[in-house]
Symmetry: C2
Subunit: 208 residues, 2 copies
């Protein structure tokens, strides 16, 4: 499938396009041109055509793209047509917020287990889940078929949590921790780091 190495920015944009196409589809819009899509997503129209060209030809010359079809193609390309089973470790403020988060536009993601190392939190219900102890992680991750591990622990516990997910067979990690994490080459990791974003704002506000 992957003819060549697709840049991460392209994947993020595809995800963004898919979101907008989803909205257009809700509004019963049938056709959209790369120029319209570009305006809505704040990018150049050639960019959109190039991004799509990595994966094939999805448009009709003189017309544009059929919204339903392109949306379906993008969902297939990104893997959003499947169900994804998520595990969470660290049921603090952030972790609990994630569990209670309603994924309206993304019914494909479900948290199936939550873990914590703090005995006071174990057995407590958060959202739809009962918090499990971290020492059951490896086993539970295997039996529950968890595919993506979400790290919402303190930095100190992050590496240990990653290791446990990986031992359980997880190949994708979403980390909210602000430390570098060691992972084997066949595992993918994405970082969500809003302090970094705040720092960028400070810089822009300071540097005029």
């Amino acid at each position: 499938m992957k003819q060549t190495k697709i840049p991460a920015v392209t994947i993020n944009r595809l995800s963004f396009y898919a979101r907008y196409l989803f909205l257009l589809n809700l509004k019963d819009v049938n056709v959209v041109s790369s120029t319209q899509l570009a305006r809505a997503c704040g990018v150049n129209s050639a960019q959109i055509r190039k991004d799509l060209a990595y994966f094939g030809q999805f448009g009709v010359r003189g017309i544009g793209y059929y919204v339903k079809d392109l949306l379906a193609e993008l969902q297939r390309i990104l893997g959003l047509n499947k169900k994804w089973r998520l595990g969470l470790v660290g049921v603090g403020n952030l972790g609990a917020a994630l569990l209670r988060h309603t994924h309206i536009h993304h019914p494909g993601y479900t948290f199936v287990n939550a873990f914590d190392h703090d005995p006071k939190r174990i057995g407590v219900q958060v959202g739809n889940l009962i918090v499990d102890p971290v020492d059951e992680m490896e086993e539970t991750v295997k039996t529950a078929g968890i595919q993506i591990g979400v790290i919402a622990t303190r930095n100190k516990m992050a590496q240990q949590s990653v290791d446990r997910f990986i031992k359980g067979g997880v190949r994708g990690i979403l980390s909210f921790a602000t430390v570098q994490l060691q992972i084997p080459p066949d595992v993918h990791i994405e970082h969500v780091d809003f302090i970094l974003k705040l720092d960028a704002l400070c810089y822009r506000l300071t540097a005029n």
Copy 2:
């Protein structure tokens, strides 16, 4: 100060370097080379030297960088040596988690006000703050001297909240919403979008 346009990726890396230097400083390490720093941050050493070169010369040939000095320089460059007053709108699961978040390594950021549009939430204490109604935003943002506005509302309310912050004089926005937001050219915005990151993981896990 800003001789040329500094790329956003460079700013993010500087922030990352600063974090690591902060840790080194805690451990009383005095000197670090670009090679050591590079290994710790997972980048090329020339990259670090180039990133720093945008702002000046901070090293000593044959030695490396003095940790304390470089940290201070980076904090000055990024504006992290100042105190920043943040306002939050949307005290749902995520917003409440942010208010309760302890910024151990970043004492420069403080939430000074929280707003919500839901009457049931107004007057309630979350973290150290009492939730205020959104229709007081413009006024409160001015009097409280809020410099950065954080958007943690539902997508529907996001644009309205941005507008209110900007009317109150805010020039920097951190948005957790997943919609495009309209802002005037003198306002800076950063997006935190973990669904986009999850989508990227799905793609990588799907595309093998």
